[in-house]
Amino acid sequence: MSVSAAHNGNVEKRSFNRTSEIGRFAAMVEKELLELLRSFKLLWVPLVFILLGIMQPVSSYFMPIILEQAGNLPEGVIANMPKPQGAEVLAQTLQQFGTLGVLVLALVCMGVVSGERNSGAASLILVKPISLYSYIGSKWTAMLVLTWGSLAAGYLAAWYYTGLLIGSVPFKDIVSSLLIYGLWLTLLVTLTVFFSTMLKSPAGAAFSSIGCIAVFSLLAGIFPKQLGWSPGALSGFAYQAVSASIMKGDYFGWAIVSALAIIAGALAAAVWLLRRSSSVE
């Protein structure tokens, strides 16, 4: 058959320069970031964090005036109100990130895998010769860029306004608390990616991951002695890192190790879940 012989010749010649798995991974991360950019998430999520970050020092600064205007406090209370420390304000800022910030991040990440699987777009991607680790990993990486970027922007804004209005805080305290708190949010985002792989419903994924994070925090809060090594203690360590010199007990290291272990476990489980339904690889 002359047609097919000619065709075979073409096929042998067609070889193009192949990039490695790293190259494909980079292409996928690029696509995820472009998606975040085109959907404006890369713009408004940092803005929300910056707003939250500025609000805390500003509201602390104006609190006496606000209370005075409200006007139903006895004389002398306001004059005697202690001025908050800069470090305290920053710890409160982190608490803001822990509620509204967590909610925003979970909502942004909740459909990251399930959305593509539900629409069928994932099946066109997964038939390409890519590894499932790259697929999950690229989404995770892009979400981390968003998370760390937003957190850093919001926290630095808070630090700047605190310095202006209340009192300066050493930069190294900011960095250490930022790193610890970033790990806490990384845990949240990783769990959201995992639940987004496991559950069809994006809302379910957001609910589950926020639930997990809340349970972690709650357990570490109720049993500080027994569960001080658990990842739930991380947010507490972050507050300490900025407000007081951190009490680096034996637990601190363990909390980081356990958080990293859960993150790695959740990513591996997400890949496993995805592979269970297909035979790719």
Binding site: M1, V3, S4, H7, N8, N10, V11, R14, F16, N17, R18, T19, S20, G23, R24, A27, M28, K31, E35, R38, S39, S119, G120, A121, S123, L124, I125, L126, V127, K128, P129, I130, S277, S278, S279, V280, E281
Partner: protein, 316 residues
């Protein structure tokens, strides 16, 4: 002639339902093969297993002599029944992205993507968002992204079923060109599409293979002479026809070997006789007709079509 893919005893069950029950087939390099069957026969399941999107319950797939282990994806370009893309991307961006996922460098992928967009007739819409594409355009974009890494095997699930007649003709035209360049496997429930494009056909029914082979040889092997007879609609003629058919059926049951007629069916006042020997059968029928002074409206002698065979195979 080498086998591009050999499928052996491929089975898939979902819970207690067996969607595909142990099918075997071989696709030769350079051939165009249609997976033909009614809805729910297991076509999509089979295709998804070949592409690696679905894990088989049991059975083997051998690509170029090596067991499938996920690396077959490098060889395959896949177009699903209704492809879903990223609506926020432009058509060109998507094809470039598909190329990079197949391991092409950004520069190579861009060059190839432009070429393919031109080829599938989308160069005017290359810079538009996919969200605004029509069904036919999406199907053509799906073809472009499936072809970007020059796959050895192009796998398509119902490539034209969801399209209007115009879109259908466009895509079929493209496929006709493509099958000159690469091996093609596609599923369809429309016999006509298979007949028009393919060398080989695999007819599946209830998850198993009902019939497979080259279209030309199937047509040759299963071609049987038939006589179609239509009478005027007066009582006498109709009475004669039903008694004649009853008589033939009785004769068949008595002695299947020597009977001239193998099958007699009456449908919408048209009798169809599948016969063994056309000459003898025609002679005998004509003699009966003149002797009984039956009012014939139409008498036609011909051969069974592939359509008849298909209907018989999938409804048997």
């Amino acid at each position: 002639m080498t086998a591009l893919i050999q499928v052996k005893g491929l089975t898939k069950s979902f819970g207690t339902v067996q969607a595909v029950t142990g099918i075997d087939f071989t696709i030769e390099e350079g051939h165009c093969v249609a997976l033909l069957g009614p809805n729910g026969a297991g076509k999509t399941t089979t295709i998804r297993m070949i592409t690696g999107l679905l894990k088989q319950t049991s059975g083997q797939m051998i690509f170029h002599g090596a067991e499938a282990d996920g690396n077959q994806r490098q060889l395959i370009g896949y177009l699903p029944q209704s492809p879903a893309f990223y609506n926020w991307m432009t058509g060109l961006e998507y094809v470039i992205y598909a190329g990079r996922l197949c391991g092409m460098t950004a520069v190579d992928a861009k060059k190839k993507a432009k070429e393919l967009m031109e080829r599938v007739g989308l160069s005017h819409a290359a810079k538009r968002k996919i969200g605004g594409y029509s069904g036919g355009m999406k199907q053509r974009l799906g073809l472009a992204q499936a072809l970007v890494h020059s796959p050895k095997l192009l796998v398509m699930d119902e490539p034209v079923s969801a399209l209007d007649p115009l879109g259908r003709r466009e895509v079929l035209g493209l496929l006709r060109e493509l099958k000159q360049e690469t091996t093609v496997l596609f599923s369809t429930h429309v016999l006509h599409d298979a007949e028009e494009l393919c060398d080989d056909v695999i007819i599946i029914r209830d998850g198993g293979i009902a019939l497979q082979g080259a279209i030309s040889s199937i047509r040759e092997e299963h071609r049987k002479p038939i006589i179609e007879l239509q009478l005027e609609e007066d009582d006498q003629s109709q009475r004669w026809l039903s008694s004649y058919i009853a008589q033939m059926q009785a004769a068949m049951q008595r002695n299947a070997e020597s009977s001239l007629i193998m099958e007699a069916v009456l449908n919408d006042n048209i009798a169809r006789f599948t016969v063994k020997e056309i000459e003898a059968a025609r002679q005998s029928l004509l003699e009966d007709l003149t002797r009984e002074r039956v009012k014939v409206r139409r008498l036609e002698v011909g051969y069974t079509s592939l359509e008849d065979l298909f209907m018989k195979v999938v409804t048997a």
